[in-house]
Amino acid sequence: MSPASPKEENLTREVEYIFKNLFPKKELTQDIKIQYTLFGNKLCNTGNNVKIRKIIDHKLDVEAIEFFLRIRDRENILTQKIHALIYLIEVKKDFYDEFYVEKDFLLKGLFTLIYFTLRSIYKFFKGFIQVRLYGII
């Protein structure tokens, strides 16, 4: 097996950090890492407008920063990478429960929606502050 290039090592660090933030209870498998790296390698040709390294180095809130950036400019590279990660996990059986319900959950659904709408507003402002404070773009 050939040693990973510095760029690949960065991408691996990136996916580990993002994944842990989004799915703290799940295991990041090797194939997701490889596929993410493949995507990152193809994608990085389009230019890098978000300093993802800084997010990792300062252990910032990647969820908040992504949400703020997405609302501002949907085509930023962090949103693209997280979007890719979603595609990669959604075809794995381990993640089935994240995407589908197997019984009716009206109240839980309504509560979840209200809670996460309010939380998203908070995350938006948190993202805004971290982007400004740490010069993420």
Binding site: L22, H83, F116
Partner: protein, 524 residues
């Protein structure tokens, strides 16, 4: 050199419909004709069931080169053409076709069967009101609509939309509805007075889906695999009909791998020049009549190229599209029944100026990644809420009508590039507001800021470049779709539409192409 009675260019719905009227003649079909050579292994159940069973084959659903992720960092591609096994549909099109455009989305196909490999099957007739501006009327098309309905199989129902779609005897049963659409229809029936008074009519779409036994065709299995797997036999695809006609008629020849570049009309024949896509060498084919049915963009290229015209701006039409997401809170968190076809119901509405056709879809068949980033929530919020929210969501696709405008045009440049300019004069938003406020009465909620306005070109209903007119002039066609200034060259695709009503146009393209086929047949 062999002199054919007719050469037809293309194998999409327009070409194959014209061919259906010419079965008794010596016809050569010239086509690029790319086919899928993939053999599918895993795709035998809906994507959600395969995920649950851990039976997703990554190569077939996402792709070894991550084809399904294409939308993320490339231009927008419909879910129907981006899955790895569906890539053949747009394969080579951009290699041989160069486009220059600021804001118009272009999707074309060199596949055998053209874009019918990807279409949604929406097959609505045009009314006389829709045909205002055409030099023909419904009576000219009726016979062909009827023949097509019988031949290809159209599912639907004679309901509140029958004044618009026509009451038909030969419809196949309407497809199953999802609980959400069922609830909507039930509520609508209770509020009929309000909706009719406000010019809002809801009913079933007419779709080229096989929903009960029909010769040689499979019944649609409601698994949604047409987004991932080529050649779903239960949805009309002109490739399958072309092959049937060729098998039954020895006088019809199909030659593929050819890109028709130009034609030249001589005293008693037409020479058609075609380039082989492998060897790049040219061959000349001769014919008494030529029918161009290569899809609006390619037919326009062939015509402009043949006249070496690099100046003229041909009119360009397309239905502008917006999307409105609706939520019915009662269905939040409901266990999904994933087996239904994506187009569920149609809303037809009018304002003082226009008529709008709005298709209502369920998000069940595609990958969740295709829509997740559209939710206005943080990603953890989306991931936590989506499974509860999706069962309660209906997406409405609104089509706008289009007519000639001087700023919207297509032209060919000397270096072979097609330039498309399309300015969105139309202010979009007010009809959506009216729909949003009326749908509250049905328990379906949305907000104006959630309405998504798609870039022009996204209806894939490209039309109007060589419009049919009663008294045509240069780069127009007559009511028989004969190209002005020629004797025996006919246009059979959407290029001939002088206006574009807000309605799926392919069924009318097909009926008109059959009509032209018959005109050509009689002329021989």
């Amino acid at each position: 050199m062999e002199l054919f009675d007719v050469i037809i260019v293309g194998s999409g719905p327009s070409a194959v419909s014209a061919l259906a009227s010419l079965k008794n003649k010596r016809v050569l079909v010239l086509d690029v004709g790319i086919v899928s050579d993939s053999v599918t292994h895993s795709l035998n159940d809906s994507i959600s069931s395969l995920k649950k069973k851990n039976e997703i084959n990554f190569s077939e659903v996402i792709g070894d080169n991550l084809e399904s992720l294409n939308n993320i960092n490339h231009e927008y591609l419909s879910p129907k053409v981006k899955a790895p096994l569906m890539r053949y549909i747009s394969n080579k099109f951009n290699e041989f076709n160069k486009f220059k455009t600021k804001n118009f989305f272009v999707l074309g196909s060199y596949a055998k069967g053209g874009l019918s490999n990807a279409w949604g099957g929406g097959s609505m007739r045009y009314t006389n009101e829709d045909l205002a501006g055409f030099p023909i009327s419904y009576a000219d098309l009726k016979e062909y609509y009827d023949l097509l309905t019988d031949k290809i199989g159209i599912a639907g129902k004679n309901d509140d939309l029958q004044d618009e779609f026509f009451a038909e005897k030969n419809l196949l049963p309407a497809p199953k509805l999802n609980f959400l659409a069922e609830a909507l229809l039930k509520k609508y029936k209770k509020k009929l007075r309000f909706f009719h008074k406000n010019n809002l009519f809801i009913g079933f779409p007419r779709s080229a889906y096989i929903t009960s036994t029909k010769k040689n065709r499979e019944i649609y299995d409601y698994k949604g695999l047409e987004f991932f797997k080529p050649y779903t036999n239960s949805i009309y695809n002109s490739k399958l009909f072309l092959e049937e006609i060729i098998n039954e008629n020895a006088n019809i020849t199909y030659v593929h791998n050819k890109i028709v570049t130009t034609f030249a009309e001589k005293e008693n024949r037409i020479d058609v020049i075609a380039m082989d896509i492998e060897s790049k060498s040219n061959t000349i084919f001769s014919t008494k009549r030529l029918i161009l049915a290569a899809g609006c963009l390619n037919t326009s290229r062939i015509v402009l190229n043949s006249f070496k015209d690099y100046e003229t701006q041909l009119p360009m039409l397309d239905n502008l599209v917006t999307y409105i997401p609706f939520v019915n809170f009662k269905f939040i968190g409901k266990k999904e029944d994933n087996e239904f076809i994506p187009p569920q119901l149609i809303l037809l509405t009018k304002d003082s100026k226009n008529k709008y056709l709005c298709s209502m879809y369920k998000l069940n068949a595609t990958l969740c990644g295709d829509y997740l980033m559209d939710f206005p929530l943080s990603i953890k919020g989306t991931l936590s809420a989506v499974k509860y929210l999706v069962p309660s969501i209906l997406i409405m696709q609104v089509f706008y009508p289009d007519h000639q405008k001087s700023k919207n045009f297509l032209k060919l440049t000397k270096d072979g590039v097609i330039e498309i300019s399309y300015e969105q004069e139309e202010k979009r938003g007010s009809i959506e507001k009216k729909i949003i406020s009326s749908f509250r009465k049905l328990g379906f909620y949305s907000l104006s800021f959630l309405v998504k306005k798609l870039q022009p070109g996204n209806s894939f209903h490209y039309s109007g470049t060589l419009p049919m007119k009663k008294t045509p002039s240069k780069f127009q066609t007559d009511s028989e779709c004969r190209l002005f200034g020629t004797k025996n060259i006919f246009i059979a695709d959407g290029s001939v539409f002088p206006v574009l009503p807000a309605k799926n146009n392919t069924f009318t393209i097909m009926a008109n192409a059959m009509r032209i086929g018959e005109i050509v047949n009689k002329s021989l």
